[in-house]
Amino acid sequence: MNQNRTIYWRSFRMAAWLGWQIESNWTDPFLFAVYSFVKPLSGAAILVVMYSVITNGAFGSPVFPYIYLGNAFYQYVGAVMTGVSWAVIDDREHYKTLKYMYVAPISIPIYLLGRGVSRFITGSMSVIITILAGMWFLHVDIDVTAVHWPLFFLSLFIGVVMLAMMGLLLAGVTLLMARHVGFMGEAVAGALYLFSGAIFPLDVLPAWLRPIGYAMPLTYWLELLRRALIGSVADAFPTLSGYSSGQLLAILTALTLLFSAAGILVFRWCDYHAREQGMIDATTNY
């Protein structure tokens, strides 16, 4: 048991260190800092311009902070979920080290989760920059003294764990696919964007599509984060207004556990079949 804990810890710690080295060393520190600012602000700017054109600049409407915050926190989905699964492609195709990681006495799922830490850190920087820009320049009124911080941090933590475990599930599927697998993380994140209430409430979707959104933990997670930061935004849309924050937290926790179990089981299954099919070190020579 102790030996397992040691193996898990060193797998996670070193993977996080490696991920950070890769994430932060691809260019010089100044360019990295500029990129860290420009990327999230550009993404938010596109959304703000579109919103402004469609609503004739109705920034006072509760719709705006709903969309803005949903979009800001959705950056975690791309960062954490695809960060974990992308490590498989990166190590297998680019660095050609995945087989050496597999031969080493480490836990591969924990290693992959560790690789997602750096993306969580850079993702957090993007989220903070986007929210601060919204508060300072776009009248996203977040009263720091009225924020429900315990609810915010608890929801954030559960949500990041949920995203990491969904990333593990994707990583498993990635192990079994050799070609064009790089697009999968983006495709899944893009598809979930529609069904998570990130930029519009689920009521906007056709009735037959809504159950997908209700089954996604992301929906409850984004709702909780909005409620914790600006309670009134959640009240502006009826979709989940019938649920208390405690109920939403319970649903999020239950769905996170469910998706975590699915992530572990799917990864194990895929890992077994990747060995069967000789996919651990398969490269496409792109």
Binding site: R10, I22, T97, Y100, V103, A104, P105, R275, G278
Partner: protein
């Protein structure tokens, strides 16, 4: 203590601590395979039906602790497939493989505590990290304390002549130097059983020689260390290995010490003739001579080399007669001792290069 390698003097590795060896490790075979087989299912395109490629067939091998064991065969013979199975990267289709008594498919976690692997001819590694960082990181994955890891890194880099590049980003290293870094990665963790898959592939002659000397020295330092090496270089197998298994088309054809493998051929007469290029009819006539046991023709610049294993020396007269009748000039005639290449020719019927072409027709 210092040892002489190549032109250099290097510190001894004998002070390196060795991993705890599992109980009974010295009494159990280090590596054992029982009827091990592997079939790949290959599909050219979505419309094509999958075809089966047999990479390994009923391989039975036993490697004892302390042995430096060689797998010798052409590209596509199944050597890498066998290493992948033994290092838990690939599941066998049938049979089983044991590392120190542990089943590689049932107990992969425990197997990985005992092994490490290096594949030659590739430039793996994190290019953004320095040589030291790459190696240190892998040492951490194996649970080696940081100070000890740094000490080993410095020693090993000194031995392979890479110490001056310790703080160079690995993306700035040449292919050969990167390969040396990978070789260090394999030895750094001081595994009980080390797998080297074509370790000198792509290295220049001097670097290959240094690596071979280092391998031999590493084995000599600690009698319980076991090393399985695959190669298609005869000299490497002959010079390094305590025992060699000759493998082709997934089958182990022979397994013994290099000396014993060659001894079987010592009663035969082995000749190398360099001649003016012969026509096909002459080649066919030579191949069917009654005294000819095996015959390999290799074209070189403006000449042809005929490697022959004859049943007896007297059969050489038939060869020379056939050549002179066809107006083929004999430029050089040499009788020589058998090599592992001759053993391969004797077992397979043609040279390693021809077998390689047969195994990989597209090459």
């Amino acid at each position: 203590m210092f040892l002489e390698i190549g032109n250099g003097r290097y510190p001894s590795l004998s002070t390196l601590p060795i991993h705890a060896i599992i109980p009974n490790m010295t009494t159990l075979p280090a590596i054992q395979t029982e009827n091990l087989g592997r079939i790949y299912r290959i599909r050219g395109s979505k419309k094509e039906a999958a075809r089966e490629l047999v990479a390994l067939r009923d391989v039975n091998l036993t490697v004892q602790p302390g042995e430096l064991f060689g797998l010798l065969g052409p590209n596509g013979a199944g050597k890498t497939t066998l290493i992948k199975i033994l290092t838990t990267l690939l599941s066998p289709s049938n049979g089983r493989a044991l590392i120190a008594g542990l089943d590689v498919t049932q107990q992969p976690g425990q197997v990985r505590q005992l092994i490490n692997m290096v594949s030659g001819g590739e430039t793996s590694g994190y290019g953004l990290l320095t040589v030291r960082e790459n190696l240190w990181m892998f040492a951490q994955f194996y649970g080696i304390p940081s100070a000890e890891a740094n000490r080993r890194i410095r020693e090993l880099l000194e031995i392979v002549g890479l110490s001056e590049r310790i703080n160079t980003k690995s993306s700035d290293l040449s292919t050969g130097l990167r390969q040396k870094m990978n070789i260090v990665r394999g030895f750094l963790t001081d595994p009980d059983i080390l797998f080297l898959d074509e370790p000198t592939l792509g290295l220049d002659v001097g670097a290959s020689r240094d690596v071979r000397q280092f391998i031999r020295r590493w084995m000599d330092e600690q009698p319980t260390r076991t090393l399985l090496l695959t190669t298609h270089y005869m000299v490497e197998a002959d010079e390094l290995c305590d025992r060699v298994a000759i493998i082709n088309q997934g089958r182990v054809l022979a397994c013994d010490t290099p000396a014993n493998l060659k001894r079987n051929l010592q009663r035969d007469a082995i000749f190398r003739l360099e001649v003016s290029p012969p026509d096909e009819a002459t080649v066919a006539a030579l191949a069917t001579l009654s005294g000819m046991r095996h015959f390999v023709r290799r074209d070189e610049e403006g000449t042809a080399v005929l490697e022959m294993i004859l049943h007896e020396e007297a059969a050489l007269a038939q060869v020379i007669n056939t050549l002179t009748q066809s107006d083929i000039r004999i430029l050089n005639l040499q009788k020589r001792e058998p090599t592992l290449e001759d053993v391969f020719v004797d077992l397979v019927g043609h040279s390693m290069a021809e077998a390689e072409h047969e195994n990989n027709p597209a090459v």
